[in-house]
């Protein structure tokens, strides 16, 4: 069996002491920032990106991946104990998790969240191992027209899955695409939209945009609220769930894992969408939907399993197609490029150690998380008592260091500040930044593939509809748009996101 052979290669890499150490650093950091509201995996990975230059590629990716799925664990701890989602993907965990804590059942809620996440992590690791090779095989046959159509599909999916108005989300994507092409045009060498500023000739760094839109903008929004945080259950007793708890939640864990794995693969998907979807699903299938919001353990088990599964399977399009499905994956691609590795389907064949090592390390990391986190919950809770007025200047210092170190240039920091203001305005106007970031990353890639496809077809735009794979993506995009435009679905879509 080839898959076992591959997993053994991966295992050898993943248990290498150095890699275990970086995996450990990654998951601990991930849990830490997951626990702390106001700083997420995007800003953290962006901060560490320049530093990974000095690491070997495998260790770097293992650590960064650990931050992403580690954050899913940490986020749920805060949601359950303090009713504040440490991570946006744990928003729904607050609903029932906090209620459980108020009923004195914080322990079982935390344990089920951790065990469900662990189970989901194991399954998602296997899903990646099984699904990635055939996908990469197909992707090797992709030409420019297929890539272009795939990106169109990805961007449309991202807008459909964003909350709020669909038109605004599409506008944000296009705005992102436009900002993405600032810099030197690779085909003609013309400087576009650089306004004679030399620093802009290489374009705006994606990390800088992400840190501004997600980092400083978020801090500014947080400072509007009064600094008031009550830690509810400082003492967590009875960590172990009862037999009844396990009986109630195993099916929810299975459903959450399945749904999360599927939604994670979709472009624009990932942990956030998976958790919202799973909560809605649990409420639907439950015989006692009235218990939801009042401490139903299924309402913790389902979304928590789903967000971890989704976080991991969102690596599939990144690893096999070289296309990021969300902002975190875009940063992973950035990490690969820093190491001089061109992302795409060839990575699996050319760097099996990297590919399989990363996958198996996710399983190792999940194991560490479940073993370490349950006993360490007390420590994480204590961290939450650190007031925000100490946290936010610290976060700003680390972000500024990260951005400045990219090229030792004050201009980058200025751009981050500008995007921070822009991000704040977007929050106020209810324009989601996530689709914009995705557009920003894909801008140059899309233009390049469009140009190539049109050149090959001698200017015939029908090329996107005559090749079968490309046609498939285009049809799928059209179907998605039509579905969302239907009034019934539109209402449903709004409901899902109003849950918070």
């Amino acid at each position: 069996m080839e898959i076992f052979h591959n997993l053994i290669i991966g295992f050898e890499v993943a248990v290498n002491p150095i890699n275990v150490l970086y995996c450990f650093i990654g998951v601990i950091l991930g849990t830490l920032i997951g626990v702390l509201p106001g700083i997420g995996p995007i800003a953290t990975i962006a901060m560490l990106l320049p530093i990974t230059f000095n690491l070997n590629p495998v260790a770097a990716l293992i650590m960064l991946a650990g931050i992403y799925y580690g954050a899913q664990y940490g986020g749920s701890t805060t949601a359950i104990l303090v009713n504040i989602p440490g991570e946006s993907s744990s928003v729904v965990t607050c609903l029932d998790g906090y209620q459980m804590a108020r009923q004195g059942r914080a322990g079982p809620a935390l344990a089920i969240a951790a065990l469900g996440s662990f189970f989901a992590g194991c399954v998602a690791t296997l899903v990646i191992a099984v699904a990635a090779p055939p996908l990469a095989e197909v992707a090797l046959k992709f030409g420019p027209s297929e890539y272009f159509s795939l990106m169109v599909f990805g961007l449309i999916a991202a807008t459909v899955l964003a909350h709020g108005s669909l038109i605004k989300a599409i506008a944000m994507v296009i705005w992102g695409l436009l900002l993405g092409i600032i810099g030197t045009d690779v085909n003609s060498g013309v400087l576009r939209f650089t306004f004679d500023i030399p620093e802009l000739s290489d374009g705006i760094g994606f990390v800088i945009v992400a840190m501004g839109m997600f980092g400083t903008a978020e801090i500014i929004s947080n400072l509007e609220l009064k600094d008031k945080r009550e830690v509810f259950a400082t003492k967590v007793t009875h960590l172990y769930p009862t037999k009844q708890d396990l009986k109630d939640s195993w099916a929810a864990v299975l459903r959450g894992t399945a749904l999360g794995s599927a939604l994670g693969i979709l472009p624009g998907g990932g942990a956030l969408l998976a958790s919202f979807g799973a909560y809605t699903l649990e409420k639907k299938v439950s015989k006692h939907p009235e218990k939801f919001g009042k401490g139903a353990i299924q309402g913790v088990a389902g979304p928590e399993s789903a967000n971890n599964a989704g976080a991991q399977t969102s690596f599939i399009p990144m690893l096999t197609l070289g296309i990021p499905s969300n902002a975190v994956m875009a940063l992973m691609i950035g990490a690969l490029m820093i190491q001089g590795i061109a992302p795409g389907p060839q990575v699996m064949n050319e760097k099996p150690q990297l590919f399989w090592g990363l996958i198996v390390s996710m399983w190792v990391g999940n194991l560490m998380l479940v073993v370490l986190n349950l006993p360490m919950i007390g420590m994480w809770v204590k961290l939450l008592t650190v007031p925000y007025r100490f946290l936010f200047p610290s976060i700003l210092v680390f972000m500024a260091i990260g951005v400045f170190s990219l090229s030792n240039n004050a201009f980058d920091v200025l751009i981050m500040g500008v995007f921070g203001i822009l991000g704040y305005v977007c929050v106020k106007l209810e324009c989601e930044p996530a689709p914009m970031i995705l557009g920003f990353i894909l801008g140059p890639l899309m233009e390049e593939n469009l140009r190539r496809a049109m050149l090959l077809s001698r200017g015939d735009p029908l090329v996107f509809f005559t090749k079968p794979i490309s046609l498939g993506f285009m049809v799928a995009s059209a179907i998605l748009l039509v579905i969302v435009a239907l009034p019934a679905i539109r209402k449903k879509r709004e409901e899902v996101f109003v849950e918070d």
Partner: protein, 151 residues
């Protein structure tokens, strides 16, 4: 004309404004080329046009359909956080890590709810020492530590 949904109205203005700018600028300054050989202006001009149209649709919606008001802007954090961050970048070379960190910590902390000199000073010292040891010593980032004349 009455603005019924200010959020949509202003979003529409923002999108249409940026779209129009990108479109006109590309039409003015870059070669369009043809569909077979696209020039550098082709892609941004088309996208800019598209963004303008979408912006106008959102704007029209803001005039037609009732919607929520734009929540109040809080200028204090907005101003102090942004200025603090930018100061960090521009003070790094002349004043070194010690000065840049001070500017960022004091200015941004002033944008928060309460500002106590003592607390912020302790925080500043911790953050400066931590950045020095971890980022400059440990990860060997080439930042100057002290102001330029003392380096």
């Amino acid at each position: 004309m009455k603005i019924k949904s200010p959020k949509d109205f202003w979003s529409g203005i923002m999108f249409a404004g940026f779209g129009l700018f990108f479109m006109l600028w590309s039409l003015e300054h870059y070669q369009m080329g043809t569909a077979v050989r696209m020039g550098p202006g082709y892609f941004p001009a088309v996208l800019g046009g598209l963004l303008t149209v979408l912006g106008l649709i959102v704007l029209a919606g803001g005039l037609a359909v009732q919607g929520p008001a734009v929540p109040q802007f809080h200028f204090r954090p907005l101003l102090f956080i942004s200025v603090g961050v930018v100061l960090y970048g521009y003070l790094m070379k002349p004043l070194g890590l010690v000065g840049a960190t001070a500017a960022l910590v004091y200015v941004s902390a002033y944008g928060g709810h309460e500002f106590k000199w003592k607390e912020v000073t302790i925080l500043y010292v911790i953050l400066f020492v931590f950045s020095w040891l971890v980022f400059v010593k440990g990860l060997t980032l080439p930042f100057p530590i002290w102001p330029a004349p003392f380096e």
